[in-house]
Point group: D2
Chain length 273, copies 4
């Protein structure tokens, strides 16, 4: 079966891939922290949080303009308007931006604005979207599906690499299990597994994995200790008023605290942060 | 939460929805059997199996032209050519046809050919696709996602109904569990659950649920006994040479046998078949 | 791996095993219905329900005297007193009785009273208990563990058969999955799987599988249609006041209705009921 | 529901419990490493590995004398003979010992030898055993069940505490999910969850969680980073010839390497090791 993901397989490549998102390298010695709100709500919100995160040391700004929502009646994002605010935040702070694409028809538009394309869990096996992302020249953040095996995740990456785009970052974000105490179950083993199977960088999203902001800190440390190349963290100026996923968002203060506590863990496993 | 799927909810509609696919009604007294190969391989194959299935009493012909495949190197389907063969099979037999759509960009093309649009498990939360399907005037077969809760399945249907299209058929096809003896675990409880929560017809795909042709027969009977409105069955003239899912495909002979054994079960629960 | 359960394996035995519990045969042409309250509460309760169930046509009376309860503060059963009431109910009605054993130290006592020993889900891999049960001359009802694979279930049976006791009935009662709409997920495929792998009779407990009395009826029919040899059903004179599992218990009236609706389904698959 | 585990609940106790196993404290500042073979095979084996582990800095010696084995034909342990060798290893090295109990009838015997009683995953809801363990004066290592929710795990601990024994150590050892790349899925979130809900120490068994020795190192680091109070690690002088679980056992050399790499991680989160 492993031969099925021949371009993604570690054994078929001499060096691990370092993905370059503007001036940020993912997969090298340095840990990379992507942070920001779940969804872009207003221009002010995104500019404010971007400036705060930049000052604290985040590397890449995240924010959704097209949002996959379980209910058709939930806030679906600002679409192009949201992309414009994200781009403006990049101008302001110099941080590269990452945002999600959900539809092949939006890919061209999103590529005009974003530095890194996110393919979310619910689209990990949207093969048309994977194939199109493989034809762009943008790096891709590929989240593991809610119940995708590690094998299927590798094969989803293979769809992108097969198109000629090897700038793929894998992102573990929790899987669906019987446990209801957390939103999902962070599969910490997926980090060493993915790094053994493939040459691609692996990051972790502890916010979605747990669904509870209090657990983001210990899980982020665990991810780094287990060998992750970076983190994707939800931060909101006022989580209680967030339009999406407030319960799992850190306040800026808690985010600053997290970064400080991460540093010694990163050093303990030979990484810079 | 139930108010989230207000158009789909049983309590908000006086009668159960009967979906009409050409002259076939799904959700009425009569059981409906959709059958055919996983994927359209050649013109001869599809015309041959269509004629056989028609003679045996199948109601709708299934066959994939655009196939979601875990690996980018697996056979991906014949695309429009496959749709043409399916349409030709309909001319030949009079059976309506159902085929899968995976990409919003293909929807218009597929609607030109098909009578019933299938949205597969991997796209159950492809919200862009759901929304577009809601804007067509074709009935939609919505498969439950691999690890979708029944609640999420209802909300996926709601995306389609919210667009103005209430011709939706729900299809249970097995969920992902720890058990490896079967490909998936058929959630037989999802049938009474979906019929209690919504007014939409519910069918079952025992072929994908089990992954083993020997189990299709007992699971099909169980589905009917539990109240399903129909079945989706993979049948192939020569399963051993099938390009996709041969292990779970019935031979025509076994399919005929299944239909015969289903009849008394259907009658036992007050259905015609 | 299959050779691991050589005594349980179908291929190593010429005929399917018919388990005899007093004058009731399980695994033959006739369906067997075991019914009764989750737990013996009072003498009056058990004598009343036993008489009702007997009149309705149930074959075996169930009732717990030693109860596995998730919380140490929940009602744990009447112990020997409960066994006495069960035995009295047998005298009154002629129905054999089945009750659960949880501790090797209780086995001798329980064997003095019961006709059929139940080993519950939480003890499916209590290997000491399995081994002791294999040394008794009582038939054993072995429930599948909450997250036991079918393979592990076969091997648990093998522990009993290896002790010299081949009077084992397998009982599918739902497995643990991500779905929260039902208490567990009834693995309907486990019926044909267990019957293909082993020569032992297989029954189904739809009450525990679903946790909702409204679903017991469709799931019971599905189980019979899929080939089960019998059912284990919770019935309580007054479910709302039950000390345990009231939400999944049928009233006598609903139980009578179930038996009536089961009859044609049983006949449809060539069984008597 | 939380009130159900009132003795276990953190909110009902002023300080976290530190469990004392002879002169080793679990739940204090220092990390505790329990190590040894899955099963005691011979006197020589256990004395040799004990001396090696002691020299390397392990704190407690593990080794099974009564083993829960999925198959009745697998090696079941040396029983009392194995306990004697474990006790001899304690004399030799001064390390306290931990071994598993599976049957209430063996508890007295095991308590004569062991310093810490292990209740394994398959017995987490063996309520008779939990209750008896609560009546001993030995500390108890309570492993989480294969598919036990965190809530059920707390309630299992409550059974022990309700008997008067508050010397309980919780052990996360992986849960059962759909993923087959690892033997189980280590639920890293269970560490902060258990520490938030209860006052009991929490350790992690990365060997059983992953089933692969190569992953023990990153998972052990992750566990410590997430706040675990210790580890339970399988070490075997010659894993390839182990009678049980060789694939997940470290060689002494890899174990020494693990301890060395753990030290900076422990310090990074404010723990001694």
């Amino acid at each position: 079966m492993r031969q099925s993901y021949r371009l993604t397989a570690k054994q078929n490549k001499q060096h691990n891939t370092v993905v370059r998102v503007r001036d940020v390298n993912i997969g090298g010695d340095e840990l990379v922290v992507m942070a920001g709100p779940c969804v872009v709500e207003t221009r002010e919100q995104v500019l404010e949080i971007a400036q705060i995160l930049k000052n604290m040391g985040a590397n890449i700004l995240r924010g959704g303009a097209f949002k996959p929502r379980t209910s058709p009646y939930a806030f679906q994002g600002l679409a192009e308007e949201g992309l414009k605010y994200m781009a403006e935040a990049r101008e302001l702070t110099g941080m590269p931006i990452v945002t999600e694409v959900m539809d092949t028809r939006d890919l061209e538009l999103i590529c005009e604005y974003t530095d890194l394309i996110q393919i979310g869990s619910r689209n990990m096996q949207n093969f048309a979207l994977l194939r199109e992302a493989g034809l762009t020249n943008k790096p891709v953040l590929l989240k593991r599906g809610l119940s995708a095996t590690i094998e299927e995740w590798m094969l989803a990456a293979e769809y992108i690499l097969a198109g000629g785009n090897d700038q793929v970052i894998l992102c573990e974000r929790g899987i669906r299990t019987f446990e209801t105490h957390t939103r999902n179950t962070l599969d910490i083993s997926a980090i060493p597994a993915a790094k053994e199977l493939s040459h691609l960088p692996v990051i972790v999203d502890p916010s979605h994995a747990t669904g509870k902001w209090e657990m983001v800190n210990p899980l982020a440390k665990a991810a780094i200790a287990a060998g992750a190349d970076g983190l994707l963290i939800e931060v909101h100026v006022n989580p209680e008023e967030a339009l999406c996923d407030g319960a799992q968002s850190l306040t800026p203060k808690n985010f600053a605290n997290l970064l400080e506590e991460l540093r010694p863990v990163a050093q303990a496993v030979g990484r810079l942060s």
